[in-house]
């Protein structure tokens, strides 16, 4: 009986999370962006649900890539990784021990970032070098220079994202570790059940801000959209995805939004995602509030270059470190 109960909890949570996550891009576009920009905006189902379904019905083509199969497999891998990440957050899975800890979560998120790098280096889109144009004619400047695709640029930027860009998110994860004194999710939740949510302490509040900035950086939303900014790299790593693989890209993004919000609810509010627990409603609310806040931020900001990106990351990271220090005091 216990086993069936657990199975229902796990599968139900995953399914509900998945369905909710499909609505998030639409909510962002219709209720925030369109409202701020004083227009009607698309129907709520269009960007998140109908677009992926449409892509499933498109003709599958071989992308222009040195390793087309690996390239096409990458969004599916990253979707699976996020599913696993969400799985580890569900209380029924805490028997896995070290896998249901902050260390595993950090590792999985790192893999997620490395995916951007692989995607970038494997994509060879028509928009830059492959565009047929006689620009290496006689008299061209520096004809010997090696030519690089936009995606290689994106790949380099993804490397920087791994190196320093996602610092705030990881620092924010360790605020709750410092408070609870344990890396295990079960201990962190137990700590919050006795001491109240970490969010309502000084360290927790600071950590929440840091987490939010890290969330935006990891999701590559404006203003931190260095991987896929419109003025230079167009869509960056995703340029060559077509048909159902693009559908996976769309779904991955929505699901990542949901999962990170769930992670926040677990670490800072002490509410693990579990469909059979009435407090699951709070997880859903957090999952709605996060994309909405992000959409408000992104509607009012330009793209950052490194000149703004470095100081922002550095400043937010310092707040994060202060939060950890405050957690120990």
């Amino acid at each position: 009986m216990d086993l069936i109960y657990s199975l229902i909890a796990v599968i139900g949570t995953l399914v509900v999370s998945f369905i909710v996550s499909l609505f998030l891009p639409g909510i962002e576009r219709k209720f925030i962006h369109a409202r701020i920009q004083q227009r009607v905006g698309p129907p709520i189902t269009s960007p998140g649900i109908m677009a992926p379904i449409k892509f499933f019905f498109k003709q599958t083509i071989t992308p222009e890539s040195p390793m087309p199969r690996l390239y096409n497999a990458l969004p599916l891998i990253s979707l699976i990784i996020i599913v696993i990440l969400l799985l580890f957050l569900i209380p029924e899975m805490y028997f896995l021990g070290a896998l249901a800890s902050i260390i595993a979560i950090v590792g999985l998120l790192k893999v997620e970032e490395i995916m951007y790098m692989f995607m970038g280096s494997l994509s060879k889109s028509v928009l830059s070098v492959r565009m047929p144009f006689p620009d290496l004619a006689k008299g061209a400047a520096h004809p010997e220079t090696p030519r690089s695709f936009f995606e290689e640029l994106s790949s380099l930027r993804a490397f920087r994202l791994i190196a320093f860009g996602s610092f705030p998110l990881y620092i924010a994860l360790f605020v709750s570790v410092a408070m609870a004194g344990s890396i295990y999710l079960s201990d962190i939740i137990a700590y919050q059940q006795t001491h109240g949510p970490i969010l309502f302490t000084v360290a927790g509040a600071m950590g929440a801000i840091v987490f939010f900035i890290g969330y935006m950086i990891l999701l590559n939303e404006y203003p931190f959209s260095i991987l896929k900014g419109k003025p230079d790299v167009v869509e960056g790593p995703y340029l060559e995805y077509a048909a159902k693989y693009r559908a996976y890209v769309y779904m991955t993004r929505g699901f990542l939004m949901f999962t990170l919000a769930t992670l926040f609810a677990t670490l800072f509010l002490g509410i693990a995602p579990n469909i059979l627990n009435p407090s699951f409603i709070i997880t859903l609310i957090v999952a709605l509030i996060f994309p909405m806040l992000m959409a408000v931020m992104s509607a009012f900001s330009p793209i950052f270059t490194y000149k703004q990106f470095y100081p922002t990351v550095a400043g937010v990271s310092i707040i994060g470190v202060l939060a950890i220090v405050a957690a120990f005091l």
Binding site: I226, K230, Y306
Partner: protein
């Protein structure tokens, strides 16, 4: 660019962009030579859009040729047809009625408004600020409606004909009323937008100190129009055109020559344009709008320079049996290409596209001449 010679030694990679690119919109090829994402050299290839309008104009009756110049550019179509008429009017000594001049100026300044608003919207789009871009497009709609009301078409509305303006463009009381209301609306909206724009710290940090062109460099690169004025050089052909004699307006200059001063200068020029339109409406003289009593004769090559929204526009042709010969057109963006390449150097790739957009490129205009003669 001798003073940047030492930078040319390290070039790691080339990033080609175009001819289809969201930041550029227009088809042109841009090759950026980068070292660690910092642009060390840039090469722009224009000529993608060359269609050869001068060749079509060759041998056409002058009236037809004039209306053809409108198709050179969809953004500043009116100034092309105005300048082309101006060539023939100067050559044949045609006297233009006062009222026609005023209507031409109203159209010209409305066009400047819409061109500058489009420039600002495109600039915000390249900054990555979709909301500001949409707000500017919304303000621009008012201007487009006014242009559509007067000219009958939203884009190719060209009002000037030889000896005056088209009868369609006559301003009656209703239209003047609508113009007045439109100017008030644009001024109000644009003031609100400008206040919001300059108080945004994120936008300001993106555009301050980026793409700097000093006044000496701008003069050396032979820039013209707003691009030159934003570097601090007081140069506006409107002060020398006899049409603008009765009007009072300031020539706006900004000192820094970076993207910020380029953008803000356009905002202030819009207010000047509104001022000129208000004066023109107030003092609009009565009388005919076309002078049909002129005679065609053969004339040698005649030149005319006007201040287009993007800089100095040059048209010249000779007349033979009432037909156009040896037509030459030089558009403002041609003069500013040097500044576009120059200002992009030393900045991040994301800023490079912004540095090009700050010079208000219009390459569909620019692709006129096959041979570029150094002046």
């Amino acid at each position: 660019m001798d003073d940047k010679e030492e930078n040319r030694t390290v070039i790691e990679a080339e990033v080609p962009m175009g001819t289809v690119h969201p930041g550029a919109l227009e088809p042109y090829r841009l090759r950026l030579f980068v070292e660690d994402e910092i642009v060390r050299d840039a090469e722009m290839t224009v000529g993608v859009n060359h269609r050869g309008v001068e060749r079509i104009m060759e041998g056409l009756p002058v009236e037809k040729a004039n209306s053809l110049t409108e198709k050179i550019c969809g953004i500043c179509s009116n100034i092309h047809i105005w300048n082309s008429c101006r060539v023939a009017e100067i050559a044949l000594g045609i006297e233009i009625p006062e009222r026609a001049i005023y209507i031409r100026i109203i159209m010209g300044e409305l066009e400047r408004l819409h061109s500058h608003l489009l420039y600002l919207a495109h600039g915000c789009e390249v900054l990555g600020h979709e909301t500001f871009s949409m707000r500017l497009f919304y303000i621009r709609e008012t201007v487009m409606d006014l242009l559509g009301m007067i000219g009958g078409n939203r884009v190719q509305y060209g009002s000037a004909v030889l000896g005056g303006v088209r009868p369609r463009c006559e301003l009656d009381q209703t239209r003047i009323q609508k113009l007045t209301e439109g100017m008030d609306l644009i001024e109000e909206k644009l003031t609100a937008f400008a206040d919001r724009f300059v108080s945004d710290p994120m936008v300001m940090s993106r555009i301050t100190g980026v793409g700097v062109t000093s006044a000496e460099d701008a003069l050396r690169l032979a820039c013209s129009g707003p691009t030159l004025r934003a570097t601090g050089v007081k140069s506006d052909l409107r002060t020398e055109m006899f049409e603008y004699d009765p009007f009072e307006f300031d020539v706006i200059t900004h000192e820094d020559g970076d993207v910020k001063s380029q953008l803000l200068m356009r905002v202030f020029e819009n207010f000047e344009a509104i001022k000129i339109i208000r004066q023109a409406i107030r003092d609009l003289p009565e009388g005919p709008i076309t002078n049909r009593s002129w005679e065609m004769k053969d004339v040698p090559i005649t030149k005319s320079y006007v201040e287009a929204p993007r800089g100095t526009l040059y048209h010249s042709y000779a007349l033979e049996d009432g037909r156009v010969r040896n037509c030459v057109i030089r558009t403002p963006s041609m003069a500013n290409i040097g500044a576009m390449q120059y200002s992009a150097i030393g900045h991040h790739i994301t800023d490079a596209q912004l540095c090009i957009v700050q010079c208000d490129p219009c390459f569909t205009c620019t692709d006129r001449a096959i041979q570029i003669i150094k002046i």
